[in-house]
């Protein structure tokens, strides 16, 4: 996704009331994270579960939060998703970078990348893929979910190789 759009998405989410962005970096969304670092609203965690824990503490304090991570890191945090986020019904927006979306991505991403949509389905987590044309609509969908105390997932596809 283009640099300018990633930065716009960050600014838009802040404008809509998301106060905290906690996660583990992913090159798929590096401009989004960079924008957040510039605005001093990002906390870089050491693992994805930790990011979810910090965000939970903030949501309990009524401070709207988003967690960001790569899909491999999302897989790390499955137990936290089921036994914290879903068990306690903690409203959070997940932003997940989808490696392995391209079939010729680096080999370590292929298998888990293929499983990613199925994982979300199995967990019954609603998701939308952010697009360069429709991102504002997709963000509104996520904000609405959050405002209704629901958890949801926005996805950024890794559509380039390096």
């Amino acid at each position: 996704m283009k640099e300018s759009i990633q930065r716009e998405i960050f600014n838009h989410l802040v404008k809509k009331g998301i106060e905290n962005f906690i996660g583990v970096p992913d090159s798929t969304m590096k401009y989004f994270i960079d924008q957040g670092l510039k605005k001093k609203r990002v906390i870089i965690a050491t693992r994805e579960e930790e990011a979810i824990g910090i965000a939970t503490g903030m949501v309990l304090s009524k401070s709207p939060s988003l967690v960001f991570m790569q899909n491999a890191g999302f897989a790390n945090s499955l137990s936290t998703v089921t036994s914290l986020v879903q068990l306690y019904q903690i409203p959070l927006i997940f932003l997940i970078g989808w490696r392995g979306y391209l079939k010729n991505d680096a080999i370590e991403h292929i298998k888990i990348g293929k499983l990613q949509p199925k994982l979300l389905k199995l967990l019954n987590l609603k998701s939308k893929i952010l697009t360069e044309k429709g991102w504002m609509k997709e963000c509104s969908w996520a904000i609405n979910k959050f405002r209704n105390n629901k958890c949801c997932v926005l996805i950024i596809k890794r559509d380039f190789l390096d």
Binding site: E49, G53, I54, S61, K62, L87, Q89
Partner: protein, 184 residues
């Protein structure tokens, strides 16, 4: 001192400060000894008590946040010490009840039989760290730390044993709701 005795003493000192209790016997003991809305009991997601505590501390700078952690628990999320040490919340007090064992799963040993977590916390930029083991230590250190800025780690060396605390009978969503109502 066993865990239940240590938790009893600490919970008396805390009054209405916010507490996040790690999953397993720690949450169960705290629930049995002194259930109140300012306690957030973790049921699952082992290792994350300190992270939830960090999020709470950053958003509630005027309140003191006490994390009731275990040695097995924090060993699963040691990275958390570095994030806490980096962000340095002044109002976070990280208590570790250290019995060098995974007591709730059958007493298997943890690495704290020869590793000192308080030293790791010190190296991670915690403002103060203490390692204590008696009831009078608890009284002295908790009184002292009321006037000291965090992050602080108080590691309490305890023995295994005692009755198992009763299971938490409140639903997770209710634990959350009453905790949120208490804070806000």
């Amino acid at each position: 001192m066993i865990r239940k005795e240590a938790i009893k003493m600490v919970s008396k000192i805390l009054e209405n400060d916010l507490a996040v209790a790690a999953n397993g016997y720690i949450s169960r003991d705290l629930f049995e000894i002194c259930d109140k809305p300012s306690n957030f009991y973790m049921i699952g997601s082992m290792g994350l008590a300190s992270s939830i505590g960090l999020g709470l501390a950053l958003k509630n700078p005027k309140k003191r946040i006490y994390v009731f952690d275990g040695d097995g628990n924090i060993l699963m999320n040691l990275g958390s010490l570095t994030t806490i040490g980096n962000l340095k919340p002044k109002n976070l007090i990280h208590i570790v009840f250290d019995n060098s064992s995974h007591e709730s799963t059958g007493g298997q040993p943890t690495n704290t039989t020869c590793i000192q977590i308080d030293k790791i916390a010190k190296a991670c930029n915690y403002n103060k760290t203490y390692s204590i083991k008696t009831e009078s230590d608890i009284l002295t250190i908790f009184k002292k730390t009321k006037k000291i800025n965090g992050p602080i780690m108080i590691l309490i060396k305890i023995h295994i044993g005692g009755n198992i605390g009763k299971r938490i009978s409140i639903l997770p969503i209710e634990i959350k709701q009453r905790f949120m109502n208490f804070i806000n």
